[in-house]
Amino acid sequence: MRPRGIGWRSPLIYPLKNGTEIAPLMISTTGALITRRSLLIKATSMALSYDVLILNLFHFTLLVAMSLTLVLYFINVYYSGKPIKEKTSVAWHIALILLNPCLILIDHGHFQYNCISLGLTVAAVAAILSDRDVVGSVLFSLALNHKQMSAYFAPAFFSYLLGKCLRQQNPVIEVAKLGLAVLGTFAVVWSPYLYSAEASLEVLSRLAPFERGIYEDYVANFWCTTSILVKWKRLLNMQPLKLLSLTATISACLPSMIQLIWKPKKSSFLYGLLNSALAFYLFSFQVHEKSILLPLLPASFLAMEKPFVLLWLTQNALVSMFPLLTRDKLIIPYIALHGLFILLYHSPGGRQHKKETQSSFGTLRLFLLSCFLVLHVVYLTIAPPRKYPFLFEAVIMLLCFSQFVVIFLYTNTKQWTPSKPSALSTEAKKHL
């Protein structure tokens, strides 16, 4: 591969069978690069002077630095074993992970720092996929210590690593190694607060504010949706509610965890992440709408295998966050980023194989999409009736919850059924 121009070697040059090299027209790359404008623009539209600008730039650089490097690490590991033909869609996959519209809207619009914990989680997943379990555990503990919401992924990590350890020759030593790594990381991060039990307990109590109640606002999870029929807050006290939600969450995670301990494979690990994150989102205590970011991350990892799951989950996530974004006055960025995501997903030449197994649900999907559209317009224009001031939020929540449950059941079944090798890789083998 000869260098070109300024001396930069394009990574997307492939040697063909007849010895020549070609570089594909960078449509997927251009799609990825061009839509990253939106990242920048949103980050800076809030800055009004240089000092605020520098704060935003710092925030943004952190995101770029972390996301780019860690995601590229993940992509490198994920595609290391795949045949060459699938690599043309790598850029598309990178773009879908990085340009998650929910992440952009929450981190840069609502303003949070989810990128750090999500980035560390990505790195942890990449480390585990490349069999560096100790490094993975350390990275995940760091992610946990940055934002306790990363605990959504904890069951998957735990059960996969446990399952893997049990298959080693000396399971006890393996478990001990990992346990030591995790405890060590925690000790290092918590060291300023470990001088007294009181200080650590104070930190812990701030981390889990149970007094806020089992749900707040209108988040599309089980407790909030069923509260239309069953008024949980009135029926039970805090203690029984906490226990109930704990049991519900664990029982929802259980199938996925059992599968991972029983057959710890790398592909099912990614599914496991998605399942445990969704289970936590649906059944956990005090879930916020923004927590939908967590299931979206493993869904974007699986974008090559199950592209439709990512698309549908992202669209539902965006719609479920719509009331929150309207309050933040982010309607136009919402429309623009939603549009850009759909365009990116359908970018010409983005993916080689499109196994659209959901074509039979075409009409149902269209119907739901039109429902969403109507809901958007209604929410923005019509005032709700005085008796039910949160009617439209409730309808949005109901629709999104139903879709999340469907996705949850689907991905759980997918984790249990052994994955077939992709059709394209078998064709590639035929050519060789």
Binding site: R4, G5, I6, S10, I13, L16, K17, T20, E21, I22, A23, P24, L25, M26, I27, S28, T29, T30, G31, L33, I34, T35, R36, R37, S38, L40, I41, K42, A43, T44, S45, A47, L48, S49, Y50, L53, L57, F60, I84, K85, K87, T88, I332, P333, I335, A336, L337, G339, L340, L343, H346, S347, P348, G349, Q352, H353, K354, E356, G362, H431
Partner: protein, 536 residues
């Protein structure tokens, strides 16, 4: 969804041919779908820019909405309620009138003459920005039309260059103007000429002139080309065609200016359209020839003073008008609008000669782009925004050879950089820098892969756009150092200047940008001139 089936078919085709490139569909519907993809991405990005900075041009256009909506036609060009008076030709006024209906439906205050003054309400901003974004549909149609006959790889790359042009986004969607649809009309006219539909081309150009008279710089080229190409075939037939073309143009102008002639206002209209009170340069000097003239004048004055001669300090400024005998130049002769016009015509003459001797449809775009660059280099009171007039048409022909591609790569970066001072607020700094960097990266990858290792397949059609693919797309060390120099100039102007000099010499960073881009623009103009002289 049939577009998915089409893509699936083309991907299976490609798998059989063992090229893991993006599928190159052969069907027209598919290409339209891909073009829509490009234009929708551009539109979504423009939506994100709605709350960003906008200049006084925003209030100008809002005032014109109010003017045309609230006042009768006879008062459009004489109203003085706001300092932003109507100074575009009548078709643009009709366009604003058309928009004002929608504006009044959305919020009547927008179009109120006095209540809406300096209105920056959310609805006003939303309406104006959306009107620019939607009128870009004309630009998209123009780009689509002019690239219709090219092969798909060329098409995609040109779409990347033109649909996602950063200069246009900076001027139209941040600074706020309506250049998109005007350039679209220019491209429609050029595509008609390239197809041999001369009457349509002439008609579209006449319409364009009645929207913005600044486009009249290329009128001599159009005239000569149409005279030689359209009015052919003997004396009688040629004369007949001349009459036909002439009557079309006259009809268009009559539709535009007719009502004002009827009202006896044509003098007022012309006075508004051609304000001679303005100076040689805009407040921020456009990177054209006059920048060097001015700098040379100052340098000479400095040297002469050092050598002991007495040099009278100029009393007038470059941005003010010509008042009496006072001249803004210390040593060199004064430039008047007449001198500027003569220079423009002189520089266009090689192009006119070429159009006269060899009126080929495939060369029209290049000749018109050259005419606009001459107008930019030597014109009177030129805005830096005028560089868009030739950058966008040059994007269409950027892939005809490696030299063209290198020239375009260079020119678009320089012209985009010269537009930076339009956005002077801190919050737009990352936006404009990243727009430029993204565009440069896209161009780099796209052009390198197009001219580099791509091996043409056996059954490739080579159309009238004969492509030379032997040479590689490599920028020499001089070009590279100039482009890196842009980074240096910008860092000095943005960051070092406030630190080192504080508030002194506030015009210095702008002057640096102006002069530095001026070198690039001069190079581009000379390169185009050489090309045209070489092909006569």
């Amino acid at each position: 969804m049939n577009h998915r089936k089409l893509r699936h078919n083309s991907t299976t085709q490609n798998q059989n041919e063992q090229i893991p490139a993006a599928s190159i569909p052969k069907t027209c519907g598919n290409q339209l779908y891909h073009f829509l993809w490009f234009s929708l991405i551009a539109t979504c990005t423009k939506l994100l820019l709605i709350p960003a900075y906008h200049s006084t041009d925003f209030e100008v256009h809002r005032n014109w909405l109010a003017l045309t909506h609230s006042l009768p036609l006879s008062q459009w060009y004489s109203d003085e309620t706001s300092p932003w008076t109507l100074d575009y030709p009548p078709f643009f006024a009709y366009f604003e009138y058309f928009l004002s209906f929608f504006a009044s439906m959305l919020d009547p205050t927008i179009v109120h003459l006095t209540d809406g003054l300096n209105s920056k309400s959310h609805l006003t901003i939303l309406f104006q920005r959306l009107s620019v974004t939607l009128s870009d549909a004309v630009l998209f149609y123009g780009i689509y039309r002019i690239t219709r006959k090219l092969d798909p790889k060329q098409k995609y790359l040109i779409w990347v260059l033109a649909v996602w042009a950063p200069g246009l986004i900076i001027v139209d969607h941040l600074h706020f103007q309506y250049n998109g649809f005007l350039l679209g009309m220019l491209l429609i006219s050029l595509s008609a000429l390239e197809n041999g539909e001369d009457l349509l081309g002439g008609f579209a150009f006449a319409v364009l002139l009645c929207f913005k008279h600044l486009f009249a710089v290329a009128a001599p080229v159009y005239f000569v080309y149409l005279l030689r190409h359209y009015c052919r075939g003997g004396l009688v037939k040629g004369f007949g065609r001349l009459v036909v073309m002439g009557s079309v143009v006259v009809a268009v102008f009559a539709a535009a200016y007719g009502p004002f002639v009827y009202n006896g206002q044509i003098h007022q209209v012309l006075r508004r359209m051609f304000p001679f009170g303005r100076g040689l340069c805009h407040a921020y000097w456009a990177p054209n020839f006059w920048v060097f003239y001015i700098m040379f004048d100052k340098l000479l004055a400095f040297l002469l003073v050092k050598m002991g001669f007495h040099v009278k300090a100029p009393t007038a400024s470059f941005t003010g008008g010509l008042v009496g005998d006072s001249s803004p130049f210390a040593v060199l002769p004064t430039i008047t609008p007449l001198i500027s016009l003569v220079l423009v015509l002189l520089s266009i003459s090689p192009c006119l000669l070429k159009a006269w001797r060899d009126p080929k449809p495939s060369a029209v775009t290049r000749l018109v782009a050259y005419a606009y660059s001459c107008g930019f280099m030597f014109g009177w009171h030129v805005h830096e925004k005028a560089s868009l007039h030739f950058v966008i048409p040059l994007a269409i022909i950027a892939l005809k050879s490696v030299e063209d591609a290198k020239h375009y790569f260079f020119l678009s970066i320089v012209s985009c950089y010269s537009l930076f001072p339009l956005l002077y607020e801190a919050q737009e700094y990352p936006i404009k820098v990243l727009l430029l960097l993204l565009h440069a990266a896209l161009m780099w990858f796209g052009l390198s892969s197009y001219f580099g290792a791509y091996v043409p397949k056996g059954d490739e059609r080579s159309h009238s756009s004969a492509v030379v693919r032997n040479a590689d797309f490599v920028i020499g060390w001089f070009g590279k150092s100039y482009l890196m120099g842009i980074v240096v100039v910008d860092i000095c102007g943005q960051f070092l200047h406030p630190v080192v000099l504080g508030n002194k010499l506030p015009f210095l960073p702008l002057m640096m940008i102006s002069i530095y881009s001026g070198f690039g623009m001069m190079y581009s103009w000379i390169w185009q001139l050489k090309w045209i002289i070489g092909s006569i």
